[in-house]
């Protein structure tokens, strides 16, 4: 039987060379981090540094803890009952668990885009400026400017500029996801977390979002969780591979995909398991 669908293999994936930029090498620093949902340990002894203004991809099979780690970077998992952690995560040298740091101000600095686009049932304009509204910005001119800037950055401005007052729920799936990105960057966070942002999108919309990630990394540090190895290879500078709550390997994307040092990583990216 002829092979119609080739499994993704390292030889087929084109890897962009990592870009070196100015900035802290340990902008986000995760140290000996463990995390429990009740009795179940979801993360075990994670230690990795995410440099400033680079794109880091988390890959691994379902249930490996990559989303859990991502959601802990802005403490979204605090909403779940009965969770606790060990170790520490620092952003720019300051612990996110610092009692003096309010979760709200952490989340204002760490924006997030979810797997399923989740626009509010409001107008496009109100969706984008929501983050500014909650910090009390009233000035219409400021809001309008922020709206345009964010939508331009999210490559959505030209498509929606004439219907900003229409409901966001009338947009297409790809537009909605880009709207969510615009919403996440409207209050200029330093870090953007993306939890499988393209998993529900078609290839064209995916391509647009990936292009967007390239544009955005000049200004934001981006952490992206993805199931698509090609995507990780296309967009990220560094890649971390997780398996069963453990960090197996973390290195430059080039190294991970071309010459992984762990057999498990090799097996996963060549499609032999996962």
């Amino acid at each position: 039987m002829p092979q119609i669908m080739n499994p993704p293999s390292s030889s087929r994936i084109k890897v962009r060379p990592a870009t070196e930029r100015e900035g802290r090498k340990d902008y986000i620093s995760i140290r000996d981090y463990g995390f429990w949902y009740g009795q179940k340990k979801a993360l075990d002894a994670i230690s990795l540094d995410i440099p400033e203004r680079q794109v880091v991809a988390f890959i691994g099979p379902s249930g490996c803890g990559k989303s859990t780690l991502l959601r802990n970077l802005n403490r979204m998992n605090d909403l779940v009952d009965g969770v606790h952690h060990e170790g520490d995560i620092t952003i720019n040298g300051r612990s996110i668990y610092d009692p003096g740091l309010e979760v709200i101000s952490l989340r204002r600095r760490v924006g997030m885009v979810f797997q399923k686009s989740n626009p509010f049932p409001k107008s496009i304009f109100e969706n984008v400026v929501y983050a500014l509204r909650v910090v009390g910005v009233r000035d219409r001119a400021v809001l309008e400017e922020a709206c345009e800037t964010s939508l331009r950055k999210a490559a959505l401005w030209d498509e929606v500029k004439d219907r900003l007052d229409d409901s966001a729920l009338g947009l297409s799936g790809g537009q909605m996801q880009r709207l969510c990105i615009a919403r996440a960057i409207a209050n200029r966070p330093e870090i953007l977390l993306m939890d499988e942002p393209c998993s529900a999108l078609d290839p064209i919309a995916t391509g647009k979002i990936e292009e967007l990630i390239h544009e955005l990394k000049d200004q934001f540090t981006i952490v992206i969780v993805t199931h698509s190895m090609q995507q990780a290879a296309r967009v990220s500078d560094r890649t971390a591979f997780f398996y069963l709550g453990k960090q197996i390997e973390y290195d430059t994307t080039e190294k991970i995909f071309m010459n992984p040092s762990q057999a498990q990583t090799e097996a996963y990216i060549s499609g032999r398991f996962g």
């Binding site: 802005n74 979204m76 909403l79 009952d81 989340r107 989740n118 049932p121 983050a131 909650v134 729920l169």
Partner: protein
Amino acid sequence: MASSTDSSTPRGEAFVWFTGLGLIIGLGMVIGLLSLVIVNGITVFWAPQVPVAQVDDGRTLIGQLAQRRVRAGSPADKPRYELQYQVGLRELNGNSYLWVDEAKIKSESFPADVLGLERVENGPAFVRPQSLRKSDGKVIAATDAGFEDAFQAEVAAAAVVREKLIEITRHRIGDVNGEMDKARVALRRAEDLKLADEVEARRRQIAGLEERFATLQAEAKKVVEGGAVASLISKDASNREVVVPLTQVIRAWFPNRLDTWGRVKLFFSRLGEFVFDEPREANTEGGLMPAIFGTLVMTVFMSLLVTPFGVITAIYLREYAQQGAVLRIVRISVNNLAGVPSIVFGVFGLGFFVYVLGGSIDQLFFADQLKYNNNTPVFGTGGLLWCSLTLALMTLPVVIVATEEALAAVPRGMREASLATGASKWQTIRDILLPASAPGILTGVILAMARGAGEVAPLMLVGVVKLAPTLPFDGSAPFLHMDRKFMHLGFHVYDLGFQSPDSDAARPMVFATTLLLIVLVVCLNIGAIWIRNRLRARFKGASF
């Protein structure tokens, strides 16, 4: 629908029929109830032909057929019927309804000159007019060509006089009386505190009011004497002469002469009176405007009170409270509150709202009123406010449960999206959760309104009365009088059905009032559903 294509349902499966039967019984009961109420309620206003019946004991009667039933003790194979006629003229006949054995009626005819009258006092009358003494003193015989036109013109003229009289006696003299009461209380207070100046001023005020009262009375007398001389001379069934002053006549019609259009006009005229006028004759006649208004205002206030209370409670329970054993007990208690008999809420309302809260308000703000007006309470007695509060408490669980469910149904993604942008919990609730759960909350409010609008038992304890002299809303400050007692359609049904001195006369009104209550509740619900659907349309397509 599935039977032809869905092979998983075998033909003739018993449970299809069994469950279908449940639906049919339920539907049948609803349709039966509604048609009974509608038929009985609507026909009240229809004017049928009125027979003149000869009974074989020599009596003659003129009356509208009210009902027909099997005589007690008549054999089952050959039932004998008896008929009930509404003969009117209560002052002469003693009772306006009469039962006659059907077999004893010798003959029935429908002469064109039978006249039906609705009167201010003593109920309706069915007579045969003889002549009309007009207000200018001229007399026209009933056989004259211009009789009917002249008669209806005089009835209309008399109605104007009556309206004027009501305006003077009820409203203007009522206002003077109200002011007089206040002035007397103030006078007593001034005398007690020995404020010589104020005593003097109050005495002068009272004298002025007494003068106004006398003027108004004189005016009323002049109106009566000036316009009310027209009267109808007629004969009743037993040839007794009946003289009816036309100021007494609200409506007059010739039931055997009317064409269909005339009957339709009469029907709507009566329906209009029923909806827009005040009740007469111990509530068995006239309109229900005060009761409609009272029910509406009370239901609206109840909704305004219960919605914020319920929503705030539900937000705390769902969003802030620590989920655990204590919360489960609280939730069970709230749900059980919905099952408490409503009269219990009435007793609580009387004991707590009226006596404790109302009493305290009176002590604090109306101490003078209590001291100088024979301890007459203001808020320390039943009233609109306490009724609304009592029913709000009763319907609270409905709103809490609906709101909790609506909040729980808001997609997790929306909540997370808001929190991830750095919104606080309260901002998320206010800006995202509440708008998104508004349709669900409104469903709860609709249920609460439906329950509250039809509730009677607790209201009887906390402020609903048989006949309220004033509406809870009028032109005197502060316009909305939350302390006033009011009339309620539900209580009106009870009062008509069980407390009325003339139960035969009240029966048709019971159905008409019930129909009106149903219509009112349906209207309130349609209004709320309309609002809910508009809200829903805004969130259409929101799926996560």
